[in-house]
Every structure is written in C-alpha cells, then in structure tokens.
Symmetry: C2
DNA sequence: CGTATCTTTGAAGGTAGTCAAGGACCGTGG
DNA sequence: CCACGGTCCTTGACTACCTTCAAAGATACG
C-alpha cells in the first residue's frame, strides 16, 4: 500500500483545529499516540504560524522563543559564514521538529527558511521541560526526533566531505524523493521538488555553476526528470549505486 | 580560574568506582546532579569498558546493545563509503554520550573508534526508556546532549561544505583546542593532540597530502605548534579569523 | 637493525570554482 | 500587445584548488 492512497493533506490551508483532528496523524508514517499524550501535545501547542515561500522561520542571529513542528510545506536549516557563503544543513518536511538544537544554545545558532509556503505548530520553548516532566514518553519521542535529525546531518556531512559532484547530486535526489514519498508528497511517481539550483548547491557544498552542469549531465544520462517543480526518478538503482546511498525502510516517527 | 586548577582526571586507569566518586563530576564543565539522580545514573550504568588506542568501540555494521559515556580518552564517530572513503563525523571527549543516534535506527549506523586508550561507562540500550520514565530530568539531559552533538555536526558540515583547506584546518585546531581545554586536557598552554594527519584529513574532507601541506603552511606562518602529541595555539585570533569560527563560552553540560 | 607507521615533498592531472554572458520564463505595466 | 525587469537556468572559457601518484625522510618499536 502506497502513501498516496492515504488522505494525507499535502498543503492544507491552515492548521487551526485541535490536534486530535490533525491530518498528519492519519499518515502511517507517524506513531499512534494515546489520548492522554494527545491532550498533552494539544496543551503544549501554543498556536499556529504561516510563513510564505522564501520567508524566514527562525533567524540565524538568535534562538527563537518558539519551537515548531512543521505541519505543511518544505523548509531547510542553514548556516552562513560572515562573507555570505551558505551551507544548508538539512531539509525539513511535515512532521519535523524545529528548534531543539538551540534549546541548549551557547550561541552558534542556525537559521530556518521556508522553501514553499509553510504552516507550523508553535510551542513555547520554556514549557519544554514541563512536557518532559509530565509526559516522559513525549520527552523520549523528542529525543527520538533529535537523534533522527542528527543522522540526517551525519549523512550530509559524508556527502559534503567525501562524495564527488555526481555522487552528491545522485544521493540528494534519491534522498529527497524518498522523504517526499514518505510524507505523501508523491503522486503518480512525481515528487514535489520546489528547490532551485542554488538550494541544491548550498546543500551539497558545490558552486551554482557546477551544480547546474552536474544536474544536466545526470539528466542527459536519463537518470531523472525534473519538470516545473516536480521530480521523477527514472533510474533509482543507478542513482543509488552512483551515490552509494541505499535507504532502508523508515520506522514510523513520533509526531509532536 | 582555569580548568587546569581542578583535579580532573586526565587518564584514570579505570572507572570501577561508584558514580558518586566519579572524577569527571568534580569538573565545573558538568552540571551538578541531585542524590536521587546520581542513584538513578548509578543503577542505569551496567559496567565499565576499556578500549585500547585504535580499537573499535562501536562497529559500523550494526547498532550496539550498549550505550556509553566516554569517561577518559579521545574517540571519534565516523562513516565509510563502500569503496573505503572515510568521513569523521565528530570527535568525542570525556563526558560525551555515545550511541543515541542508533537508538532509533533504521539501519544507516556509524562507527565509533578510540584514538587513545579509552574507558567507558556502559548502559544497556533497553533500559533507556525506563530512565526517561523514572527520571524525566535525566531524559531531558540526554536530549540536551543529543542537541549539542548535532550542533557539532552542523558546524562540521559547514566546514566540509563551504570552507577551503586553510580555513578548515584553522577551524579544527581551534575547535579541538577549546574542547580539550574545557575537558581539563590542557597543561601550560599545551593541549593533548593524539591525532595523526589521516584523522584530520578524514574529519575535514581533505586528502592526506593536502592536509599535510596545509598544516605545514599554517605552522610556518607561526599560527600553532605541534610537538609529539601536544598542540599549542600561538595565534588564536588569527586562527579564529581565518576559520571564521568564534567559540562562545560553553554552558555546563549534563553528565550521565 | 629491520619493519611498520606516519610525515614530508615534488610533480602532474583533474575536478570544481570563478567569470562572463546569453537564454528562458514570468509577472507587471506602459 | 509588447516592452521591461527580475529570477533562474544554461553554457563556454579560464583558473586554481585539491587529488593522485610517487618516493624519500623521520620516528617508533620489536
């Protein structure tokens, strides 16, 4: 059974309803929660926020007072050096938790930017400990999310450090496709792909020009198609082999 | 007051004593804990393990059944591609928690290797949830550690993706010196530096040869000295400016 | 003293960065 | 309707940073 068959909301206009009606939760990508936990999440949640495409979710200069769960849309975490060079650390999809890294900040924060229009559930940072205290299970889940997020960055570091341009692009395309698939953002083999080549370059640690040339090369080889914001993988095995990157089936994730 | 003034054990032969006598805890780098928490940690701990220099702490093929706190020595986390290219993800110092990333594994694990001889406190993975349940505060602390660890990898990703060789080396030297200082491994301005150039190359995503040439260049410029396993920073401001990397004062960390 | 490991250096080649400019597409407004 | 500016994509030419290959020192150790 594919995720497309589930009524997962791709871009709900807004999430103003109670958590128990949350559309995301119907997806099998997320763990079921008890009624008590859902209550705790509901009261942990302080509101909803909408950010337009290209807008800033969290500024790079200081940690935000809020934590977020991305409810719909695509976003990314990034850091910039003082001369403007930017590195994208990881991409964020619905269900991803935002802001944990800064919870224990010694400065050195990162920014979060929306790629598409996004909606977010907001939580107040200073109530986090209370959540751990009253609902240890949810604390455990948050640790789960933090650990998963770090694994993503681990993989990206291997890519930036040890893969060449072709391998990097192959790995990123497969990775984003798989995550989109899991999040129910694939229809008929086409995945939402709202990124421009500057995003890809900044994620892979390549220049814009070289990213373009590498993308075109792999496209001419017939490995994938990209059409007005939608991605289709034509040769998944070739891309996986080229990138030396083989996704394992993903476990259901907690959703806070 | 400098950390050197504290009686922090640099390389205790072994940690077989109860946690309340733990030498690490005397360091101001770590948060104080209550007696009840210390009891919980003590009963969470299942034993002690010693790994010789260069030995494998956690294999790359499968998640280990144990979690660890590094008690003494230096180690690193790494991943290797199928053709042998290796990327070091982060370095580990006393107090660092090991194995969390695999707690929620979907495969895709990483290895951990000892640089020097190390001693580790061991915990059984399947008792982690129990710890969260009975001691939410410690669960919160574990999340703290996970978030800090991810920030380290974030920084390393920026380095591998967007810094050139000189900047990478400058940043790594400053970073390791600062962490050694905090861990009480600096004496008279000399920090323990047990790494060979292959370690540095694998951490920075550079080739061994180019790493060597870059190290020599910065050394000839008089920015640092390296002598039989000990590092002295001669020009901290120059190195920080070159690497565009400015450490903020670090908060006391939890110690599990 | 011989072997293994690590460091150092030179030379050659290639991958990726930089510079520059044209093209495609889109929305806006004259 | 078409001109215009903006953003993003594409391509070529040139440059340079970094990798690879090769081999010679240095150091430690049995």
């Amino acid at each position: 059974m594919k995720f497309e068959d589930y009524p997962a909301p791709v871009y709900p206009p807004r999430c103003a309803h109670p958590c128990e009606e949350c559309g995301l939760r119907r997806s099998p990508a997320f763990l079921a929660v008890s009624a008590a936990e859902l209550d705790a999440i509901q009261s942990f949640r302080s509101g909803t926020r909408v950010v337009e495409a290209g807008g800033r979710i969290v500024g790079e200069d200081r940690p935000s007072a809020q934590l977020y769960t991305l409810y719909s849309g695509w976003a990314f975490r990034y850091k910039t050096l003082s001369d403007g060079r930017r590195q994208i650390l990881s991409f964020l999809l619905p269900g991803d938790f935002i802001g944990l890294q800064d919870e224990f900040a010694d400065g050195h924060t990162h920014g979060v930017e929306a790629v598409t229009g996004t909606t977010l559930c907001t939580f107040e940072r200073d109530t986090l400990w209370d959540l751990f205290h009253t609902q240890p299970k949810l604390g455990y889940h948050i640790t789960w999310l933090a650990a998963r997020e770090e694994k993503l960055v681990d993989d990206n570091l291997v890519t930036a450090g040890r893969r060449n341009a072709g391998e990097r692009v192959a790995m990123l395309l497969m990775h984003l496709y798989r995550r989109a698939e899991r999040a129910g953002m694939v229809r008929d083999g086409w995945a939402e792909f709202p990124f421009n080549q500057q995003h890809i370059a900044d994620a892979l640690g390549l220049s814009l020009v070289h990213t373009n040339k590498t993308l075109r090369r792999l496209q001419r080889l017939g490995l994938y198609k990209l059409d007005s914001g939608w991605l289709r993988i034509l040769e998944p095995h070739a891309l996986e082999a080229l990138g030396d990157y083989f996704e394992r089936p993903m476990l259901p994730a907690p959703l806070i």
